[in-house]
């Protein structure tokens, strides 16, 4: 059972990374990025392509793929998302939905729907003795990376000037602007950063999950449920809900296997009934 719990935390690590990216982008731009799952998929395919065509290994991919995707995300924000931002947020949702369809089918055309193999990095091929049970080293690594990244983002948001500006711009964009802070300057980097997180999650997923064009779409809908549970306006809530949902679904899988896929949505329904703004969301509406 402890092992199942650990599995859950590893699964939650992916939810948390994706939910974090979704939440910072949403906070800064008010955009729900449907293409987030597609960028996760591109992250996995990016590392697969690097290895398969260029012989570039996992460690290099872990750095370059998120970087490249982050830049692509920044470009995407500059060219398109920014133009739609003043309109109803639904338009950006529809825009990124279309984008996700395009990216997914482009990859599908090139590589088909079957899963591509990606080997574990050699340094992490073994197992780790965690005292009560042994566990694959790679999964421990994924969990550690995710915790470190989420923790680092938390520190940046709460302890640095940049983080202060981002938080202020998230909560009260007009007021922040009125105080003389150039909010627009931070929008593009934050968007790029959110996409880079999705790419990072994709690279991490490549060695332990099936690399195929559809891997992102189904996952992102579950992540939507996760951030609704956590409270989409809340960055902390999204990450916490990510890990918690991972844990709960793994345990649910153990005790009620029939519910394994639907449990997260049932939880979402329960949260909506009890606290429509999400566990960590704010109830009050902005002026």
């Amino acid at each position: 059972m402890l092992q199942q719990a650990f599995n859950g935390l590893v699964g939650g690590a992916f939810y948390a990374l994706l939910a974090l990216g979704l939440a910072v982008i949403f906070g800064m731009l008010g955009v729900v990025n449907f293409a987030h799952g597609a960028f996760y998929m591109l992250g996995a395919f990016g590392s697969y392509i690097l290895l398969d065509h260029f012989g570039v290994g996992f460690w290099a991919a872990l750095v370059t793929v998120p970087l490249v995707l982050g830049l692509a995300g920044a470009l995407l924000e500059r060219l398109f998302v920014r133009r739609l931002a003043p309109l109803d947020p639904l338009y950006n949702f529809l825009f990124t939905f279309g984008l996700a369809l395009i990216l997914q089918d482009l990859v599908k055309r090139e590589y088909g729907v079957q899963s591509q193999p990606y080997p574990r990095p050699e340094a992490l091929a073994g197992t780790v003795d965690l005292g009560l049970f042994t566990y694959p080293a790679y999964q421990v690594f994924v969990l550690a990376v995710s915790l470190v990244v989420c923790g680092a983002v938390w520190v940046v948001l709460t302890r640095t000037r940049v983080g202060m500006i981002v938080r202020a711009a998230t909560e009260r964009p007009e007021l922040t602007r009125a105080l003389g802070i150039d909010v627009g300057r931070w929008v593009t980097p934050v968007f790029g950063f959110g996409i880079a997180l999705a790419g990072l999650a994709g690279v991490l997923a490549a060695p332990m999950r099936a690399v195929n064009p559809l891997m992102g779409a189904d996952l992102i809908i579950t992540v939507f449920a996760v951030v609704v549970i956590g409270g989409l306006g809340s960055i902390f809530g999204s990450v916490a809900a990510g890990f918690a949902i991972g844990l709960v679904s793994a345990l649910g899988n153990l005790y009620v296997p029939a519910l394994s896929q639907t449990l997260v949505f049932i939880l979402m329904a329960a949260v909506l009934l009890w606290r429509p703004a999400g566990l960590f969301g704010r109830e009050e509406s902005p002026s």
Binding site: F93, T222, F224
Partner: protein, 337 residues
């Protein structure tokens, strides 16, 4: 909002009816049925998106549930197909009650996300419940007959099913035109004021949601019976996305624009499939991106504004200051409630 001048309205209606009757002669009959079903589906979604201001991204749940229920009724009971289809529509409405009850508490983009998530839940349930739904194989061999009359010919079935579609359209049209529909429009434009005037906003939204789901179910059930099978694709999120695209392509809040959008998308898909093109998502996605970026009023909205100069009461359904036809929703993005 629907027809430009009172004199043009009967003319447009007659043209539409003629087109609906002539459709199986103009295109391959199964495609004609697809167009009719998707058109009703799009109109049902527009009832919610354009006339209530709620973007549901999970309408595949209702279309698909009804497809399965209608298929099961027809398969297991042998009742005439309209009963099966109406049963499917009823099941969609029933499913919409809890989903709508929970979802209408949220606004704008949150509503879209939550409906999408619930639809995904329905998809997983249908996928897992193999004994009833056939899992990945779907339901096959759904009979198409009416009182012993064999309707497996698509051409015949189109005319047998058309009354149901027209009935659905009549319902949508009546709802939009009714005092109830005017309340919905006021909720779309200014929920706070509607609430202040004493209308229970969430209850109205829920009722609109259930009605929209029932009509989507009517379309989905007929679609499944018409094809003789129900498949997982009927409940998948791509179906939800496709119907949203039809409405946006035709023009949000134009009702008949969705019909046009449905016809265009079905014909385009049919063309792509028959020409052996593999990446339909690339084309579909590109259309999505282009209409959202540069063509937000949609085909019908653009045409209407060309025909009729912007003046007087004709545009009373648009909030003032929204000259480009973008529906205004004043809710902030910071809080979901």
């Amino acid at each position: 909002m629907i027809a430009s001048r009172p004199a043009a309205r009967p003319l447009l209606l007659a043209t539409g009816l003629l087109l609906a009757l002539a459709l199986p002669w103009m295109v391959y009959p199964p495609v004609a049925l697809d167009i009719a079903c998707w058109a009703l589906f799009a109109a049902a979604l527009d009832l919610l998106l354009g006339f209530t201001g709620l973007l549901s991204f999970g309408h595949a749940a209702f279309w698909g549930t009804s497809a399965y229920v209608a298929g099961l009724i027809a398969l297991r009971s042998g009742l005439p197909f309209p009963v099966a289809v109406l049963g499917g529509a009823a099941s969609a409405a029933l499913l919409a009650l809890p989903i709508g009850y929970l979802s209408v508490r949220l606004r704008g983009i949150y509503f879209a996300m939550v409906t999408l998530a619930f639809a995904q839940m329905v998809y997983f349930v249908v996928n897992q419940w193999r004994g009833l739904t056939g899992g990945e194989n779907g339901l096959q061999g759904v009979p198409r007959e009416l009182f012993g009359l064999d309707l497996s010919d698509s051409f015949l079935f189109y005319y047998a099913g058309l009354p149901l579609v027209l009935l659905g359209f009549l319902a949508v049209w009546r709802i939009v035109r009714s005092p109830f529909g005017r309340v919905l429009a006021s909720i779309r434009d200014n929920p706070a004021r509607a609430q202040a005037l004493g209308y229970p906003v969430d209850r109205y939204r829920l009722l609109a949601f259930v009605l929209s789901a029932a009509l989507s179910g009517l379309a989905g059930g007929l679609f499944a019976v018409g094809h003789g099978f129900a498949s997982l694709e009927n409940v998948y999120w791509t179906t939800s996305g496709q119907v949203v695209m039809m409405v946006v392509l035709g023009g949000i809040g134009t009702l008949w624009g969705g019909v046009l959008g449905a016809a265009l998308v079905v014909l385009l898909n049919d063309y792509l499939v028959t020409s052996g093109f593999e990446g339909i998502g690339i084309v579909t996605g590109a259309i999505f991106v282009i209409i959202v970026l540069v063509f937000r009023r949609g085909v019908w909205g653009t045409a209407r504004d060309l025909v009729r100069p912007r003046s007087g009461g004709g545009r009373r359904d648009r909030p003032p200051g929204e000259a480009d036809g973008t529906p205004a929703r004043p809710q902030g993005v910071g809080s979901p409630v």
